[in-house]
């Protein structure tokens, strides 16, 4: 079959089955973006963000041979909850998503390669979804691995008591919600940073404002707290952290939401922001010198 016939055949196929075309385009986009963004030296700092607690826990296990009594398990469970809820959800995943998702489009503008994405027969909405999924896969892969590693290192030091806690106690029941919340954190923050990167030439400042908002939101009324990612993540977590510090005085306790509402709420937030990104992408023009 000649090349012209191939082109004509592909054209016919895409007219008849556009959704199959979109799916195949998203697969190609995800594959290319994952290769481009996961296995690169530029992402070493993201690996470090994910691995810092893992390395600390590993060091703790190797060098601190005391406190291995089974009675310590509850204390360490709270420490693990602190690592996941205070470090990963508020800082690690937040900054990693800022790096990964803002770079999906801004990075291509900096490298002057975005025009290649705009000169192929791909709807810009498909481009946004493909890039978002790639970012989500990268961040979820990294942070799920990190959270599972933290979980393993927390309980492995207790030997058989730790094994019992994981498999016969509440252990695995806690890991599931942590993994779910980690994935949702990546999706929620990812969608927000993708939109910010399309809205602002330098998304660092609005990113810092978002971090500030996520941090101080607990002192605002319950309805305002629902406009944060951490609000939903907090209700997904199986271990409640005790409030402490000066912020605790001003904290407005919002009524917790059910698991279903938390998951659906975060997904709705991510989808809404993604839809916004699909509109914003149409504003982007290739004028590298003006960036």
């Amino acid at each position: 079959m000649s090349a012209q016939n191939l082109a004509a055949q592909a054209q016919k196929w895409t007219k008849e089955q556009p959704w199959r075309l979109y799916a195949s385009q998203i697969t190609v986009l995800v594959r290319n973006e994952v290769r481009r963004n996961l296995f690169t030296r530029r992402r070493i700092w993201v690996y470090l963000l994910a691995l810092i607690p893992v390395l600390l826990l590993l060091g703790h296990n190797v060098f601190d041979r005391s406190n291995r009594d089974a009675s310590q398990i509850d204390n360490d469970t709270v420490v693990l909850a602190g690592i996941i809820q205070l470090y990963y959800f508020r800082l690690g995943i937040f900054f990693a998503c800022m790096g990964i998702f803002t770079w999906l489009f801004r990075g291509e503008i900096v490298e002057r390669t975005l025009h290649y994405q705009f000169l192929v027969p791909v709807r810009k909405e498909v481009l946004v979804v493909g890039k978002f999924l790639a970012g989500a896969i990268i961040s979820i892969l990294l942070f799920e691995t990190a959270v599972i590693a933290c979980f393993y290192l927390t309980y492995t030091r207790f030997g058989s008591a730790g094994t019992f806690y994981v498999f016969n106690g509440p252990g695995l029941g806690q890991l599931g919600p942590y993994c779910l919340a980690t994935a949702l954190a990546c999706v929620g923050y990812g969608a927000l940073f993708l939109a910010l990167s399309l809205l602002f030439k330098n998304p660092i400042v609005p990113g810092a404002l978002l971090l500030g908002w996520e941090t101080i939101a607990p002192i605002f009324p319950a309805w305002a707290q629902r406009l944060t990612v951490t609000f939903y993540l907090k209700d997904l977590c199986p271990v409640i952290l005790p409030s402490s510090g000066p912020m605790a005085i001003f904290t407005v306790v919002a009524e917790p939401v059910s698991l279903f509402v938390a998951v659906i709420g975060l997904l709705c937030l991510a989808v809404a922001v993604l839809v916004l990104s699909c509109f914003l992408i149409h504003r982007i023009e290739i004028t590298y010198t003006a960036e």
């Binding site: 592909a10 054209q11 895409t14 290649y116 000169l119 027969p121």
Partner: protein, 316 residues
């Protein structure tokens, strides 16, 4: 105006970057064939190409390519290939992947995409180095691999921004032959180039631009005829140059008839070339002299460029 299904149509297109003018009130329609955009730096050639391919959006007006707009990207970019001037590539890519993966985005299956990739690499003369990283390519090779990507999916409209830059004479000749072959298949080839001799040789028509405006547009001879401020120059080599010069002087529209140093050639400058050719026919028919050669001396892009834009046709 109804945008034609075979035409590229610009309707009153303007583009402003803030307060800076990119192009202003551009209206024309192009038929299939090779069209060259010619003009000095900053005249708006690249802006026009970026507008055509949707990389930037017009502030006013509309653009239709074969009846399509960039709001139908799937259909539009099946028909259009654009080789930009941006000398940048996705990090770590090699020549083969640079062509193969965009073809997969076109919807081609692996085998089809591989076939088209190999064909494009062959056509651009890059098959031997396809598996090398693009970062290690010379400027000419980078130019050719971009060209290969632009032609890989067999577009009906090929847009090329300075495609001959950085190419050695052999590669330049091969590229020109490729453009001509594509144009012969009834496709559009739109080229911006500052190498006016080559533009002149290959173009079916030109669009002359200056400071964001289209100064002239059409077939080169038509455009030349429209430039009435500069009489046409016609070189005639004949058996009696003095007789021809004196006959030419009797015509009102002839402003100069100069006998050249070889004594057998006359350079005539006339405001009405058709009338002059009639005179020449009469003289020859009457057997007053023998004509060896007649050739227009300034109906080329370089001359038109000089007359309309005013520089020597240097780097545009």
């Amino acid at each position: 105006m109804t945008p034609g299904a075979r035409q590229i149509v610009f309707e009153n297109v303007s583009k402003f970057y803030g307060e800076v003018l990119g192009v202003n009130k551009v209206s024309f329609s192009l038929e299939p064939g090779i069209t060259s955009l010619v003009g000095p730096n900053g005249s708006g050639k690249t802006t026009l190409m970026n507008l055509l391919t949707g990389l930037i959006k017009p502030s006013h007006g509309s653009i239709h390519v074969l009846g399509l707009t960039t709001r139908q990207p799937v259909e539009f970019f099946r028909q259009v290939g654009y080789c930009t001037q941006f000398d940048s590539f996705p990090p770590g890519t090699n020549g083969y992947d640079f062509i193969y993966w965009p073809l997969r985005l076109h919807g081609f299956a692996h085998d089809q995409a591989a076939k088209l990739t190999n064909e494009a690499l062959e056509r651009a003369g890059m098959a031997q180095v396809a598996r090398r990283k693009v970062a290690g390519y010379s400027k000419g090779m980078r130019q050719r691999i971009r060209l290969a990507q632009a032609i890989a999916h067999h577009p009906s409209v090929l847009v090329l921004d300075e495609p001959l830059n950085g190419l050695d004479p052999m590669a330049r000749a091969e590229s020109i032959a490729l453009f001509q072959a594509i144009a012969k298949q009834g496709m559009h080839v739109i080229i911006s180039s500052h190498i006016l001799e080559e533009v002149d040789r290959i173009s079916d028509r030109v669009v002359l631009m200056s400071s964001g405006y289209v100064v002239a547009e059409g077939q080169i001879r038509e455009v030349r005829r429209e430039v009435r401020d500069h009489p046409m120059q016609i070189l005639v080599r004949c058996s009696n140059a003095a007789k021809l010069a004196s006959a030419a002087f009797e015509l009102d529209h002839v402003v100069e008839a100069k006998i050249l140093t070889d004594g057998q050639s006359v350079l005539v400058r006339t405001r009405d070339s058709e009338q002059f050719y009639l005179l020449l026919n009469k003289i020859v028919s009457a057997g007053l002299l023998d004509v060896d050669a007649v050739a227009p001396a300034d109906d080329d892009v370089n001359s038109i460029y000089q007359y309309l834009i005013g520089s020597d046709g240097g780097p545009a």
